[in-house]
Amino acid sequence: MTTVLTEAGADVTPAAAASQRRRRRAPGWLAVLPLLVFVAIAFGVPALAMLNGAFTVKDQTTGATSYTTANLTDSLQGAYFTALIGSVKLSAVSAGIATVLGLPLAQAVVTSRFRALREAVLTASGVLANFGGVPLAFAFVATLGNAGVLTEHLGLKDKGWNLYSFWGLVIVYLYFLIPLMVLTITPALDGLRSQWREAAQNNGATGIQYWRYIALPVLTPSLLGGLVLLFGSAFAAYATAAAMVGSAVPLVTLQIADAISGNVLVGQENVALALSLDMVLIAGLVMAVYLPLQRRSARWLEA
């Protein structure tokens, strides 16, 4: 932050009197500055508060605070650890399935001759990808829940179906993950030149060979990037699970919400912050994988 501020300040003063080129650069720094300041306040302060809280414990009797890693240790034990693993498993499975299912759907839409279909599906994806949360949970409860329409008409209950379980959640999560995949992968599919396919065909390649040796390698960074993005999205989801399963499936987001609402043992108030830090670390790992992939796929598409 400080370096940016000083550099910006240094750039502005001579800019007024300097050359044309210099004058053109001054608004550059100035235009970015409000964004940086805003993020520092609205995002930086809560993030630092979380970091600080994750490492402090308040003594109940004296009210004094001390730095410790006890919160982090607690957050990686017992029910909290089970919840963390549960979240990772659920996110990985649903992101993987959504990637595999989203690619053919996006390809079907991209190669469609009907422009209206393409626009309708992309708009719908934009809505559905953000349709997570409470309405989604209630819609699925009405469809596949214990008294749901499909459950009753198809007699799913006798076949052992239970929406309030791991696989139930996967099915619900796919409802917003597949559209997200479609949105993510469509630009990459648009970037596949028809010349590449024609060149492959002229050289005698079959459709499968085209996909195996040309399209998929070009798409791989985008696909992996999408997969990672979906994982992060599923990992962070809270509203759907909260409205649907309560605590039937252990998830880290539900544990954090529980702890923020005050349902913890005395002396563990900051465990919520430690769990949040765990989530940030996992999501950070995800991003560390995602960004380079994103850059690689962007390079292909720009070329």
């Binding site: 993020v39 809560p46 422009r115 934009g126 997570g132 949360g133 469809t143 630009p187």
Partner: protein, 292 residues
């Protein structure tokens, strides 16, 4: 969608990637039908669930109750106000910054990219844990300073500014991606230089040359932000405010039919809003095309 069908210019324009030789590809039909089933059945089933009540037959009571239900109007209004404020703030922050990155400050580009990706690293629930901690400082440490008033104002239940701050942060990654994609498609530098050569000053070049070229990206960013704010539940619930999504949740505990009816309606409301925005964008796009 109706707009695009009525406009012959857009229908005649061939879809990108379409093959000139029409080949029948059955897999496409299968994929689309399967996807259609998966995405439409829950919606249809929800409607059936709300309309076909056991022991009552077909009834529209659930939908009739919504309007008179406590808190429906106020929570929906609050969500729309929050969305408008969030879109305004996030665009005002991001558009100048993104344009400037293309023009004069390429060195800052990775910085802004990382900053706009940070909210993806901090899930909403972790973010709200941090916000709740900060808001607790107010009464604990700052009760005698002028900052305390700020904290109170931030949490005004009629219009919680703290939610706007949180939503702007949460929207940054989406807005960044949308604007970045839009800017990638236009050569901003040449556009601005051309405008400047023709005698436009900086604001003119930005508002009358760059922004019209970014209309698609701006609309896209607004859609995503709107959808995000309308559906946002985590932050609002855990901070104790009651916009639309939290209201649906609170209704769900007592009346199953009503809550599903509202869920269906909320999807329709979001759809209607996004489609009308898309329609607006499409109309002005074709208008400018016919002018050129």
């Amino acid at each position: 969608m109706a707009g695009s069908l009525n406009n012959p210019a857009r229908v005649l324009k061939p879809a990108r990637g379409a093959n000139k030789s029409v080949r029948v590809r059955p897999w496409r039909g299968v994929v689309l039908v399967c996807a259609g089933l998966y995405f439409l059945v829950p919606l249809a089933a929800s409607v059936v669930f709300t309309v076909d009540v056991p022991n009552q037959g077909i009834t529209f009571d659930a939908y009739r109750q919504i309007v008179s239900a406590d808190g429906f109007g106020s929570s929906l209004l609050l969500s729309l106000e929050l969305a408008a404020a969030t879109i305004a703030v996030v665009l005002l922050l991001m558009v100048p910054a993104m344009v400037a990155l293309r023009l004069g400050a390429p060195k800052l580009r990775p910085v802004v990219e990382v900053i706009c990706s940070l909210p993806l690293v901090v899930p909403p629930i972790a973010f709200v844990a941090g916000i709740a901690t900060v808001l607790k400082w107010g009464p604990e440490h700052l009760s005698r300073t002028p900052l305390f008033e700020t904290f109170v104002a931030l949490q005004n239940p009629d219009f919680p500014v703290v939610l706007v701050l949180a939503y702007v942060v949460m929207a940054l990654p989406f807005v960044y991606r949308a604007l970045d994609a839009g800017l990638r498609a236009v050569d901003v530098r040449t556009l601005v230089e051309a405008a400047r050569s023709c005698g436009a000053n900086w604001p003119q070049a930005l508002v009358r040359v760059v922004l019209p070229n970014l209309r698609g990206a701006l609309l896209n960013a607004s859609f995503l932000t709107l959808a995000l704010v309308l559906g946002e539940f985590t932050v609002a619930q855990l901070l104790g405010f009651q916009p639309f999504a939290v209201w649906i949740y609170s209704v769900g505990g007592s009346q199953a039919q009503l809550s599903v009816a509202v869920s269906v309606l909320s999807l329709l409301v979001t759809w209607a809003l996004l489609l009308s925005l898309a329609g607006l964008g499409g109309r002005s796009r074709s208008a400018s095309a016919s002018r050129g």
